[in-house]
């Protein structure tokens, strides 16, 4: 296999976020430091908290009615990612789809289904329930774009989006499809809000990742889809290369059903493996887009992971959590943060964590806060973790950094 075949590149990025549709809106909003988290009480009766919604979102679906909000967000992001591409091309039709979601169609189902499913189906229609399986998210994207290659949806809690990108990269190396649309999508819904609320994991106010006074996370919603292909495929069709996926890795803590390993050992190993695949040293990573949920347990474990993984660096590793801008988008988070990492590389901007006044003490981490730091950024990493102990790390580089 040649170097061109082995090099995985990103040739499209589609985003639906609380800033709107498109990477340009996300970039404009985040670089201006605008926070989309707002106090809200209307997400379910009795809910008082803070979240980030995609306001006024609509999608023309050609009369199809069976798609959930998660599916629609995914479709919109995918359409954005492939805008300008020739959809009649045979290679496009044979593309693969690897999406990610934790919510899937849960947004369409209400608690009364448990009191009598058959009656619920009669009242609400079978199509609403048909969107429940997470596989539906990849299918909806494929059906919307007329793509019929291999499809699946990853559902590994909050690491889902990053893992979808990692699995897509493996599939491209295997040559199972000429191109793969990979990403994640999740809608805000009472099920997950209620669940995190019951765990007392939500901060009622805007979250403060990595701050000593952090109290929890905020939920958001959105979707991101990357167009991934090998470098030779991109060159053959004259596509602009937006970034190179230099390395990826996945690990599991195997230490607790929900909490991360206290010392961040599993995540540190994941980071090390991704750097090993990318054949890069610790000083070559210029920025880490952290998982950074804002929960007490995650952020301290993650800090330990960075201290361990980057302990040989000549200077502290710059880290920020962009969940401080529009919350935790669960299965979409890893894909959205991959898109943000690519954006950071392309525009040479290291985004700060918002509201980070009193960071966790660490000699190994350079907490980004205050103003956007402008500097050349040849390579950066996006890190995700989730319930169940799963970790994922992705390393992106500028076009031309290899070969």
């Amino acid at each position: 296999m040649s170097e061109l075949h082995r090099t995985i590149v990103i040739t499209g990025v589609g985003v639906v976020s609380p800033y709107g549709t498109g990477l340009a809106r996300l970039q404009e909003g985040m670089l201006s430091g605008r926070c989309c988290l707002t106090a809200t009480t209307d997400l379910y009766p009795g809910f008082v908290g803070t979240a980030a919604q995609v306001e006024g979102f609509t999608l023309e679906t050609g009369g199809r009615s069976l798609y959930s909000r998660t599916d629609r967000l995914a479709e919109a992001a995918a359409r954005d990612a492939v805008a300008g591409m020739d959809r009649t091309d045979a290679a496009f039709r044979e593309s693969g789809i690897v999406m990610a979601s934790t919510v899937g169609g849960l947004s369409e189902i209400d608690p009364t289904i448990a009191q009598g499913p058959a009656a619920w189906y009669r009242r609400n229609g079978l199509e609403r329930a048909a969107s429940y399986p997470v596989a539906r998210v990849a299918d909806s994207v494929g059906e919307d774009l007329g793509i019929c290659g291999p499809r699946c949806t990853v559902s590994v809690a909050c690491a889902s989006g990053a893992m979808a990108i990692a699995l897509a990269a493996n599939m491209l190396l295997d040559g199972v499809a000429p191109m793969i649309l990979a990403g994640g999508s999740d809608a805000l819904c009472p099920f997950t809000l209620s669940g995190f609320n019951s765990l007392q994991a939500l901060d009622a106010e805007a979250c403060r990742p990595f701050d000593q006074s952090r109290r929890g996370l905020n939920l958001g919603e959105g979707a991101a889809v990357l167009v991934m292909e090998t470098l030779d495929s991109a060159m053959a069709r004259g596509a602009e290369v937006l970034a190179v996926l230099r390395g990826w890795a996945m690990t599991n803590d195997a230490s607790h059903p929900t909490a991360p390993h206290k010392e961040g050992i599993g995540l540190a190993e994941c980071i090390r493996l991704a750097m090993e695949m990318a054949s890069v040293g610790v000083d070559e990573i210029g920025y880490v887009n952290a998982h950074g949920t804002g929960t007490p347990l995650n952020d301290i474990a993650e800090t330990h992971a960075y201290e361990l993984a980057f302990r040989e660096r000549s200077s502290p590793i710059p880290v920020s959590s962009t969940k401080s801008y529009f919350g935790h988008c669960l299965g979409a988070a890893g894909a959205l943060e991959a898109a943000i990492t690519i954006m950071s590389i392309r525009c040479g901007a290291l985004l700060p964590t918002l509201r980070l006044a009193d960071p966790i003490a660490s000699t190994g981490v350079d907490w980004l806060r205050g103003e956007v730091r402008r500097q050349a950024l040849p390579m950066a990493m996006s890190v995700s973790a989730g319930f169940g102990g799963s970790n994922a790390a992705l390393i992106f580089g500028r076009d031309g950094s290899r070969p």
Binding site: Y44, P45, G46, F47, E94, D110, P111, A114, Q115, P117, A118, Y121, R122, L126, A129, P133, V134, A135, A138, D139, G142, I147, C148, G149, P150, R151, C152, V154, S155, V156, A157, M163, L167, N170, M171, L173, D174, G175, V176, P190, F191, S194, G195, F196, N197, S198, L199, Q200, M250, T251, N252, A254, S255, P257, T258, E269, F387, G388, G389, S390
Partner: protein
């Protein structure tokens, strides 16, 4: 995808056939009446008979788990035992878990909905919520066995099992793990069963004691099947076969793709992984006849595995290997409707020892 280095080292399953390590002894079973919820008349399915996991896997604690997670623990343990692997002698940071499921932890999702219906969204159960996530069974497998490699859960309509096998083999081939446990499974709940029923997908055998009625529709089934994959020759251990190549797509010209995979060879054994079968004629069986001609042994979809609509492939594989020739070239074929020349399909090519 070339997968010549990946070996099927162990099999385990918790299914209506029972909890079994290795191949499944050939025997016909009938659907049983559903009693877990009140039904309007007789409703039947292939169900896993309740059992005590700790009697099969000493030390396993499943009291707080849903059935899917408990079965995943048992099936994975049986497959590891069948492979003759002592995990204490293995670098467990190099062991992956790859799980496919159609409905995930739907029992607990329904339970969470019930708590919301009873107490409002503000009074839901915090213990249940994290366990509703689809990746909980794979996480419990990692936690129980101490497996720190990639831990992945996917859903893929009709081809969850095939997709998991193909992608997990890819992890091994790319050196992202040395050993892997692939699992695939689902549970039947009232909401799932009644959705099938309302959609008109069920066989008449679900409603009466007769064997198979008009042959259309399927009888829902449940369980978890597990396959241990390892890089071939890593231990010189017994193998059920080597995965040579695999493809799955949502559409396209299946016959052309399969012929390309076979590269002129004729398979000795074709296992049909009909999902939603046993509907006659099965699209997978029709494709199998086109591929295998007169010489191949064609094993029709197993009714129990077919009832696990998205996730039956691993059970199909185990049942097929149990009942077919034990050597030669084998093809696992699954299809998902459409025309005979353009439809979703999955194909795995295996070299049997």
């Amino acid at each position: 995808m070339r997968e010549s280095l990946v070996s099927i080292a162990g099999l385990g399953s918790v299914s209506p056939y029972g909890p079994i390590a290795g191949l499944i002894p050939q025997r016909a079973i009938s659907p049983v009446a559903i009693t877990a919820w009140a039904t309007e008349g007789l409703r039947r399915a292939f169900l896993v008979e309740p059992f005590q996991p700790a009697k099969i896997v000493p030390g396993v604690k499943t009291r707080r788990l849903d059935r899917l997670s408990a079965w995943a623990l048992v099936a994975s343990s049986l497959a590891i035992r069948d492979a003759g692997i002592d995990l204490s002698q293995v670098d467990r940071s190099r062991v992956a878990v790859f799980f496919s499921t159609g409905f995930g932890c739907v029992e607990l999702t329904e339970s969470f909905f019930r708590s919301a219906a009873a107490n409002g969204w503000g009074g839901t159960d915090p213990i249940t919520f994290p366990e509703t996530l689809a990746n909980s069974p794979a996480s419990h497998v990692a936690l129980f066995h101490g497996l720190r490699g990639p831990n992945i859960t996917i859903g893929s309509k009709r081809f969850g099992g095939e997709s998991a096998l193909i992608q997990c083999a890819s992890l091994l081939r790319h050196g992202q793990a040395d050993l892997a446990i692939v699992l695939s499974g689902d549970t039947i709940t009232q909401a799932v069963y009644e959705w099938y029923e309302a959609s008109g997908l069920l066989s008449s055998a679900c409603y009466n004691e007769e064997p198979w009625g008009d042959g259309c529709g399927f009888v829902p089934s449940e369980g978890v099947a597990a396959v241990v994959l390892e890089r071939a020759d890593s231990r010189g251990a017994r193998t059920y076969g080597h995965l040579r190549e695999g493809r799955w797509t949502a559409g396209g010209h299946s016959l052309e793709v399969v012929h390309t995979m076979l590269n002129g060879a004729i398979p000795d054994l074709i296992l049909c992984a009909g999902n939603g079968g046993p509907c006659t004629p099965s699209p997978a069986a029709a494709l199998a006849r086109e591929v295998g001609g007169q010489d191949a042994v064609i094993i029709p979809p197993d009714a129990v595995a077919a009832g696990m609509t998205d996730t039956g492939a691993l059970l199909h594989l185990i049942v097929g290997l149990s009942n077919g020739p034990k050597s030669g070239l084998a093809l696992l074929l699954g299809t998902s409707g459409g025309t005979s020349h353009d439809h979703g399909f999955a194909a795995l090519l295996l070299e049997l020892p």
